[in-house]
Amino acid sequence: MDRLPAGAEEPGLRMYRVMAMIRAFEERVGELAEEIPGAVHLYIGQEAVAAGVCSVLRDGDHLASTHRGHGHAIAAGCEVEAMAAELYGRSDGVCSGKGGSMHIADLGHGMLGANGLAGGGVPLACGAALTARQRGTDDVAVAFTGDGGANQGAVLESLVLARMLDLPVVFVVENNGYAQATSAARHFSGTDMSARAAGFGIPGAVVDGADALAVRDAASEAVDRARSGRGPTLVECRAQRFHGHMEGWDNQAYRPSGEAERLRAEADPLALLRRRLTEAGQPADAGAELDRAEKESAARVQAAFDRAAQPAEPLLTALTTDVYAAH
């Protein structure tokens, strides 16, 4: 988890590195969207959620993600090179090219996978938490879901299950205001997920999802609760997606005009964290450090996609391997 940065750095700086990498990755994916096969759902605007939550995870912990999973994967420590290759369906991709954007998984980094089914991954995270509970370790699991996916039966049932077994799981609802074109105001009917969680006996919190430090604090409390055997927590992160639901498909006519631009200007999680890390009282060279992080990310991402976009001989025998461990 949170493996990009080196050892003893401040959490803020480490989160910034993660967020810069996510941003660089997603901006590049956006540029390449017409060329990348299939569908991509960008995480731009929500970086603070993945970075903040994963900043309190450690080896042995697990997370399950959504269709909008690149940010979670990067924050979990997945290599952007293997991810870029995966997006192109190459056999050297993190899932050998068989998964694609919507299925990036990497157990080595605790990443149980993006998921094509809204809410589909949430029970999987409960399962990782169950493993920890049964083994008596203090590992935890994080279940990410969007606001729309949070309405799914699988997610709501997971609240029941997690409470009944007191699973060490943290439910993170990334409320970015929309499920495709349907606003959260409509599909949540004025409720919020933390109030819902309370109805299931699960402590809930609502936090500004653009504020990495705030997300980290809330996640930290929730993860501590889970690690110490006090059961599940639900954290609703109010975030924003700066792009449409999916690249090349969504004209965002359902959004108030100018909303995305305004958000970029006013609610950019990177800008916010940068301000925090460079404000009075912080090291004088903090800004330069952040610039460097951005440059490095951009370069690494650029190289990763340059390589991934190279023509590659597909491994056609892979078509029918990995269906079973053994048959």
Partner: protein
């Protein structure tokens, strides 16, 4: 005749029937802002297109309850893969309600869904799944392969009193075709003979009809004349049309992009092996996707999906076009 796309053809039937039948409502996630067949219908029929939260079990179940009590809901499931999250409501409720009540309830319900490979969406957005629905008594299963059938089959679906899975192949939406402007209905349970021939019967489903026709073209060059059948409705299934054709050709190939085990290709092949054994002059052949999930990699996805070369090979493997063996 005027040419429109598959998506437009479906839309035309929907709009026409909604004009005739006040009980029709459209339901689905983002239904009011959907692209494709239902785009803009909300403006024409305000209040009859309903946005749903991502709660398929609840809203498909609600559609069943609404159908039982007087509405005729048309539910957009988006990708057919999502039918798995509301499978109980489809398989145990919608499909069985009529039977369990001894005919006391009718369930006029259309479940629309996109299916098939080709859009590089990976294992959870590219499945066929029609064999699962065909297996279940009480469901009707339809999948048009061209715009004219799409319009006519949707018109029929909207006048059925049973739950219909209306499966729209995602790679066909923009396929153009000649479609009559006036309303018409294509009956369920009637296959269409897309191309006549005498050497081998090729039954193909959905997008595979095009693949079969391409194979037929290639085979014609060497004098093998395929008769290509499009069943159009998978349940009910027009066995008689297949039997008639096999009686004539003596050979059968079934092409379907679902998986092989307990799939539609096996279904048709088994039926013919049982009922037309005497007419078969060689082995039946099934051309299907492999027994593997749909891979994301475009190269693998293409390899996954049956193509004309595989159909050509299968037709040859039936022995079709070879001189009949001399007696004794």
């Amino acid at each position: 005749m005027r040419t429109i796309t598959y998506a437009q053809a479906i839309r035309e039937a929907l709009v026409e029937r909604m004009g005739q039948d006040e009980s029709i409502v459209l339901m689905g996630e983002d239904a009011t802002s959907a692209w494709g067949p239902t785009q803009g219908i909300e403006q024409e029929f305000p209040g009859r297109v309903l946005d749903m939260p991502i709660t398929e079990s609840a809203f498909v179940g609600a559609a069943v309850g609404a159908a039982a009590t007087g509405l005729r809901p048309v539910v957009d499931l988006l990708f057919v893969d999502f039918a798995t999250v509301c499978f109980d409501q489809i398989v145990n409720q919608a499909a069985k309600l009529r039977y369990m009540t001894g005919g006391g309830v009718r369930v006029p319900l259309v479940l629309r869904a996109m299916w098939g490979t080709g859009m590089r969406r990976g294992a959870q957005h590219s499945q066929a799944l029609h064999p699962l629905f065909v297996h279940v008594p009480g469901l009707k299963v339809v999948t048009p392969s061209n715009p004219a059938d799409a319009k006519g089959l949707m018109a029929t679906a909207l006048q059925e009193d049973d739950p219909v899975l209306f499966l729209e192949h995602k790679m066909l939406y923009f396929t153009p075709g000649e479609v009559p402007e006036e309303p018409y209905a294509v009956p369920f349970g009637e296959a269409s003979v897309v191309r006549e021939g005498s050497s081998c019967t090729v039954v193909a489903v959905g997008r595979m009809v095009q693949v079969a026709l391409e194979a037929a073209d290639r085979l014609a060059e060497s004098g093998v004349r395929c008769e290509v059948l499009d069943p159009r409705t998978l349940s009910p299934f027009d066995n008689a049309a297949v039997y008639r054709s096999v009686e004539k050709t003596g050979h059968l190939v079934v092409v379907d992009e679902a998986h092989p085990r307990c799939g539609l290709a096996a279904d048709v092949a088994a039926q013919v092996a049982q009922d037309c054994h005497g007419a078969l002059r060689g082995p039946v052949r099934m051309v299907t996707a492999p027994h593997a999930p749909v891979p994301f990699s475009p190269a693998l996805e293409d390899a996954f999906t049956p193509d004309a070369a595989e159909v050509v090979e299968a037709v040859r493997a039936t022995g079709a076009g070879e001189p009949a063996p001399a007696l004794a």
